[in-house]
Symmetry: C2
Subunit: 458 residues, 2 copies
């Protein structure tokens, strides 16, 4: 495997500059004013993928942010894998907490700082570059490869389920390789076998038909901010257990074996708390911190606002109060049922004197758990063991990659999670970064993974 490795070495300075250019595009999928930048990032990916040697490269419409497809299908009799990643990013606020502008990538030693550096632009570029190295040095790939990169992962991939369903034949594959994932540490590999699902709702509460004087009306009418605070408080008890009726009804209980597997992954709670600057954990009684974030469902308010939020004082009872809520789901919760349970809770617990509207931006996604005996999982484990000299931990992730569920549902293909982010890289936070050493290591790992998968019946 000398040739492609040397090719990667020689091209690494160029690849870093290309990553920098990619990261300069503010492809924030949640903010409509950046929609043009999301598309521009997609065009950048398409151009880069074609230059790597992929065929049939195209920017495809979804009804929302576009996706990029490409393939190389000249290995008859060999398996077909579909490599997945995303080129959209989270918003960058709070901007004032960034040491450098989020879309002006800044390199400091081994680290490149930018919104999207590790989630997911750095990691999604890796398999494109590995493919280029193979095609440039050997003029062929050892198996059939399809690429699907999307631009709406950070908003829950609202159009991707329909898109995959509509393009079943184009996307048909034996295995998905998901690059939107990470390793345990710089020296310890990991394979993520589970992701939580997600669903989200927005609550829009309304009291008086305009902001009114808190002197003139204070004491006589319901204040939407108090009403919203009470409604949100009704959703969890003081210990953090979710009080929405039926919320836990379909949760598959954790087996002793599962709890042992989770407990086998080392974890420094003190370090984790120090990193977040918190003095104590807080969560559902009866579970370890790891179990709470990996294998138990949540209900979290992500945003809350209403009334006068500027500097100084404005003595109003506001007309409106708003909250954004997302839930993380575990097997076998159904996002539609959870959203319905919350709607019913809201209907029962909204205080008097206000009206409320509940809306959801998308249908959400189920949690995802790869069977322990899946062959793709075994091979990826062997590749990582050889590369790091250690067996990978079998980890879960508290986050959600809805498209994993869509691939399983519509293509019947499980995914192997094969990415090189690391846990301290400030995903979704200010000063997000990616390690250039991970960038290079990932490229080499993909060479081996594709080679090994080519030998298997998937």
């Amino acid at each position: 495997m000398m040739e492609p490795e040397r090719y990667l070495d020689e091209h690494q300075p160029t690849y870093v500059e290309e990553l920098r250019a990619f990261l300069s595009i503010p492809s924030i999928s949640a903010l409509p004013e950046y929609a043009g930048d999301v598309r521009r990032a997609g065009e950048w990916v398409a151009e880069r993928l074609a230059r790597a040697g992929a065929e049939h490269v195209q920017l495809m419409e979804t009804g929302g942010h576009p996706v990029v497809y490409g393939d190389w299908l000249h290995a008859p009799g060999r398996p077909t894998v579909l490599i997945y990643g995303h080129f959209d990013t989270q918003p960058a606020d709070p901007l004032e907490q960034w040491d450098h502008p989020p879309f002006a990538p800044h390199i400091d030693g081994d680290r490149i700082y930018a919104r999207g550096a590790t989630d997911n632009k750095g990691n999604m570029l890796v398999p494109i570059l590995a493919t280029e190295a193979l095609l440039a040095t050997r003029q062929a790939l050892p198996l059939n490869v399809k690429f699907l990169f999307e631009g709406q992962e950070e908003i829950g991939s609202p159009q991707l389920s329909a898109f995959i369903q509509a393009h079943r034949e184009l996307l048909d594959c034996d295995l998905v390789i998901n690059a939107d994932i990470g390793q345990h540490s710089e020296t310890q590999p990991a394979l993520s076998v589970g992701l939580r699902g997600i669903c989200g709702l927005q609550l829009d509460m309304r009291g008086p038909n305009r902001d009114v004087h808190s002197g003139g009306s204070g004491g006589a009418i319901q204040n939407p901010l108090h009403a919203m605070a009470r409604l949100l408080s009704s959703m969890r008890n003081t210990e953090g257990k979710i009080m929405v009726q039926g919320f836990y009804a379909d949760v598959r209980p954790l087996s002793d074996e599962e709890r042992d597997t989770i407990a086998a992954v080392p974890y420094d709670e003190q370090e984790y708390m120090a990193g977040l600057g918190i003095a104590e954990f807080y969560g559902e009684p009866g579970y370890t911190t790891r179990e709470r974030t990996w294998a138990r469902p949540t209900l979290e308010v992500n945003g809350l606002w209403g009334g006068f939020i500027g500097e100084g004082t404005k003595t109003v009872i506001p007309s409106e109060a708003h909250a954004k809520i997302t839930c993380r789901l575990v097997p076998d919760q159904d996002p539609a049922q959870i959203m319905e349970a919350i709607r019913q809770h809201v209907a029962r617990h909204t205080p008097p004197g206000v009206t409320i509207a509940v809306s959801s931006a998308d249908e959400g996604s189920r949690a995802y758990l790869v069977p322990a005996d899946h062959p793709g999982l075994r091979i990826a484990g062997e590749v990582l063991s050889a590369l790091y000299g250690r067996e990978p931990y079998l980890e879960r992730t508290g986050g959600s990659v809805p498209i994993m569920s869509f691939f399983l549902e519509h293509l019947g293909a499980y995914a192997v999670n094969f990415g090189f982010g690391l846990p301290d890289e400030n995903v979704h936070s200010p000063n997000e970064f990616y390690r250039l050493s991970s960038f290079r290591r990932g490229q080499g790992a993909f060479l081996v993974l594709l080679e090994r998968l080519a030998e298997e019946k998937l």
Copy 2:
């Protein structure tokens, strides 16, 4: 009294244009970026006051927004009154709910629409114009008059207490006439005998040291938005009664006579609800709506924010949550004691896993209640009875004019509330307006009031 009345009639078109110019200055005291405009409004008032014939007119520094002073003191042996009003305004947001820009005054029939039209620029200009009419036609006033107009009423007059204390001799008077007040209706006069006091606090809550991923950490750490919702919910019970320990301790109980006086003022609850677009009242059990807004204390959240509040979804557990709270106070609550009680409540009820800072922008003010037998109150009542052909209602106001308490405390002078705003004029709300007929009627009423007060021992 023909001459000054005719003078006012002749000058009315000019006065309306002057009001329009005054309203064009965006003198928003709560927003630091408008500080220059507050000063500009003060300069406009000083110029206008001098042109009316007042002497010793000066813009005086307070350490914050300035005040305007002027006087006319050539009536030896006659009482001295101090006329008060304010030239600052509330912020204008939500801007999109205004039919016309808030600082581009728009006249429609009898109404002039602008932020500050009725509160208080229209009403504070009235006594200046009445003074001009007297001086222009008779070259003298019937009694000694001082003027004090301030630029920080809408933020609770934080520097005014110290200013009045420091200028006791300059401001010494027998009676204050407050122009920052209104009448019951176009045909029914009213005298406001009571104002609620006010105090305010901001709560700044902090969880993790940055916004974190709700997938990675959700379930394991406290979410400041949930913690803030729970803390705020602990401050009032489901019926709206305030649960802060000691909050009601010093409240002077309402006497049967007081309740009768309040009940004597007619009041259409259905119309009030329709005007606000609400289906029901909500408030402390055991009191009428009027008692709740006039004579019972409140605790209201005026603003609440944290996390992602843009369009779309951002799956964070935010680092911070913030709330602004104000309380309306009644006799004999002490704002300092109430703020301390809330601080202690916050200390006892802040959920685990977050830290909280409590701050207050100013010391607040006590409630204010004019004795029923005060001579200034009697004379103002006689003037209004003659003008409207009806006895004025004795009303209270749910709002707060902190400076009333300062005048009483530092100058020993009660205030007669003599202004011509009307209850439907959207005070502190979008589409605030003032009636040009009230503007003219007020000018005539001030002529008579000054004449009648000159004859009394105050």
